[in-house]
């Protein structure tokens, strides 16, 4: 019924997109006149104003409604208003989500979105998300992590059949748009999806992200060499250090679980000496940083815990732990190579200034408005 409603509404508005015959996009006909895309798509929608935004976004959503997909639009107020206007009554079939809720944490967002895709598949449906990650007002390291997610999700969602479309305002910093061209297999132009020649293999992309060495720990970082230490004592040590910082109590347990996991890995797979360093970083994104370094080098193809384990699978794989560590920390940075391996865990300290989605006025400017249009909620 939802299917009929969506198709009728979309058809009535003349929004049905022409069939998009593109690379890697299998189409099957499940019933007469009902075309279903079965393979995963991840498309970039560059836009420089409301028209180009709607040209790409509207057919994408309408196709989803017509096919009975679970259709989610993650966007700010301005975009939501535009889309609702254009969709008309069919807008009831679209779940509009706040970017600050959806794009809360890179690893968690990826995991939740993947779960949603699996749930949809389980119901014989498909997940379709229109979403623009909130790029501005994030610190440079946060931006790198969100870009990494854009790359890695190409691997993570491969078997889900989900359809993801990422609008990118051309007014964003050039580096962000350039990175998007590396992480999306296809680009939408005038309602047509075309292969993106700039697309880079996700793992190569991650390697590029990690080419820069991590900044050196501050000279006053607390340093502890771990020689066969019982991790019980390590946790007591970390607890004592954390208690002298502003780390909230509820985050302490997460830190302890994360440190225990990373040190356990280093003891199993790494080479001594294993060194633990802790320090705090002030600034716009104050953090408690906890680094575990050893002399070993990770085997290639370990995945770095970036791909969520699939729910329901009995074998989580050996990287379940590292993936979970990413959920527990604000950010995890890994470097491994000739000089040994370093895993740096960052936990946010209170006082972080405005880390999150861009402000509404920024969103309107991206759509080409100088000021918020009247009638906005």
């Amino acid at each position: 019924m939802k299917n009929d409603l969506g198709r009728a509404a979309a058809g009535g508005l003349g929004l049905m997109s022409p069939p998009v015959g593109t690379v890697g996009d299998t189409m099957i006909t499940s019933s007469p006149g009902n075309v279903v895309h079965t393979s995963f798509t991840h498309r970039l929608l560059p836009y420089d104003g409301a028209d180009r935004f709607l040209d790409g976004a509207l057919p994408f959503l309408a196709d989803g409604l017509a096919a009975g997909d679970r259709v989610v639009a993650v966007c700010g107020t301005g975009q939501e208003m535009l889309l609702r206007d254009a969709l008309g009554p069919a807008d009831a079939g679209v779940e509009f989500q706040e970017p600050r809720d959806w794009y809360r944490h890179p690893a968690r967002t990826l995991a939740d979105c993947l779960s949603a895709a699996d749930d949809a598949t389980g119901r014989g449906s498909r997940l379709r998300v229109l979403g623009e990650p909130a790029w501005t007002s994030r610190t440079p390291p946060e931006v790198v992590e969100w870009q990494r997610i854009e790359a890695v999700l190409n691997v993570a969602f491969r078997d889900t059949g989900a359809a993801l479309m990422c609008p990118y305002s051309t007014s964003l910093p050039a580096g962000i748009v350039a990175a998007a061209r590396k992480t999306h297999p296809e680009t939408v132009r005038g309602g047509q999806a075309v292969p993106n020649p700039g697309f880079v293999d996700p793992w190569s992309y991650c390697a590029q992200c990690d080419r820069e060495p991590l900044p050196a720990p501050p000279p006053d970082a607390d340093e502890l060499r771990l020689d066969k230490a019982d991790l019980y004592w390590l946790r007591a040590y970390v607890t004592e250090y954390a208690r002298q910082t502003a780390l909230p109590d509820e985050d302490l347990q997460r830190l302890l679980v994360a440190v225990t996991e990373v040190v356990t890995n280093a003891m199993r797979h790494g080479e001594p000496p294993i060194v633990l360093r802790m320090w705090t970083e002030p600034g716009t994104a104050p953090a408690l940083v906890c680094e575990v370094a050893d002399e070993g080098r990770w085997a290639p193809g370990t995945g770095y815990g970036l791909i969520p384990p699939r729910p329901g699978s009995t074998a989580f794989g050996s990287r379940f732990g590292l993936w979970a560590v990413r959920l527990l920390c604000a950010a995890v940075q890994i470097r491994t190579g000739e000089g040994g391996s370093t895993v740096r865990l960052r936990l946010a300290l209170p006082g972080a200034a405005g880390a999150g989605p861009r402000t509404e006025s920024e969103g309107f400017r991206a759509l080409g408005f100088q000021n918020p249009p009247s009638g906005v909620r």
Binding site: Y232, T264, A324
Partner: protein
């Protein structure tokens, strides 16, 4: 509810002066606790006095399987089994607390004269509380207060009063428990000062205390496998578990997937910190693990 004032003690740590309480859920639990109490007494040349109508060789914890020669200990006077009639019943067969007190006093004095350094007393009171007669709780309470008064100052005597926890209503059970200073339980299956694993019986399972990490995964896995042998739902009481690592959670989930179809591994009384971590990882990613009961107040035996 106030923090309970009684001491909780594994049976191996019961000491002279302890007036102990064991509300057992079934014969398995009773035999493990009382069997240990009897056996450890006999092996350490303490005197064991058991008030029961059962024959000596049927006592928990004795017999060839445990390497305890009942007859030899009985002959030597180290094991004394006294029938209820001789210990505490009046001429009409009614329970007489004063007689029980006399019996205990006499046996302790005798053990002292015989040169034993300590005497272990135990009896199962459940028969008093079960039909046909009405449970005479007031009489029992009075008796237990006096037993406590007699045992507590003693440097020789230690006692464990056994009660089938299903013989009384929960409030009655709690009232009777409160006349004891020491709650006795099984000896831990494992205790290295960091992690303690204790067998639980109702529900069946294990209680974990302290911290569980990779250094103790194998001992935990072993205990988990042992407790899961019968066809029964296994509960893990995690109320006193302060830390569990991701490998530990993974281990539990892996164990749960090996259980008979649809049978979960139940995690009871999770500490908020630990639950927070599980929620962050997602219960749905730990198939086979389910959140069980929550304990709102400290209740060491889960009676109330």
């Amino acid at each position: 509810m106030e923090t309970p004032w009684f001491a909780e003690r594994p049976v191996g740590e019961v000491r002279p002066g302890d007036h102990g309480w064991l509300a057992y859920s079934g014969s398995e639990e009773r035999d493990q606790v009382i069997g240990t109490f009897v056996r450890e007494g006999l092996r350490t040349t303490e005197k064991v006095v058991y008030v029961t109508d059962a024959p000596a060789h049927r006592l928990p914890g004795v017999g060839p399987r445990h390497g305890i020669d009942v007859d030899a200990y009985s002959r030597a006077g180290q094991l004394r089994v006294i029938s209820r009639r001789d210990a505490c019943l009046d001429r009409r067969g009614g329970f007489e607390p004063a007689m029980m007190l006399d019996t205990l006093g006499r046996e302790v004095d005798k053990a002292f004269d015989e040169g034993f350094r300590a005497v272990r007393l135990t009896t199962d009171y459940s028969w008093l509380l079960k039909p046909p007669g009405p449970p005479d709780l007031a009489r029992m309470l009075g008796c237990e207060h006096r037993v406590g008064d007699a045992v507590s100052p003693s440097t020789m005597a230690m006692a464990i009063c056994q009660i089938d926890r299903h013989a009384l209503r929960p409030d009655e059970l709690a009232a009777l428990r409160d006349t004891h200073e020491v709650l006795v339980e099984v000896n831990p299956e494992y205790d290295d000062g960091i992690l303690k694993i204790v067998r639980t019986f109702e529900p069946d399972g294990l209680r974990l205390e302290g911290e569980l990490d990779a250094a103790r995964h194998s001992v935990f896995a072993e205990q988990l496998a042992q407790v899961s042998t019968d066809r029964r739902r296994v509960h893990l009481d995690l109320s006193r578990l302060g830390f569990i690592d991701l490998g530990g959670l993974h281990l539990m989930a892996r164990h749960a997937t090996g259980l008979p179809a649809g049978e979960p591994l139940v995690l009871d009384h999770l500490a908020p910190d630990v639950e927070n971590v599980i929620e962050m990882v997602g219960w749905h990613r730990l198939p086979g693990l389910v959140r069980g009961g929550r304990r709102t107040s400290p209740d060491p035996e889960g009676i109330t």
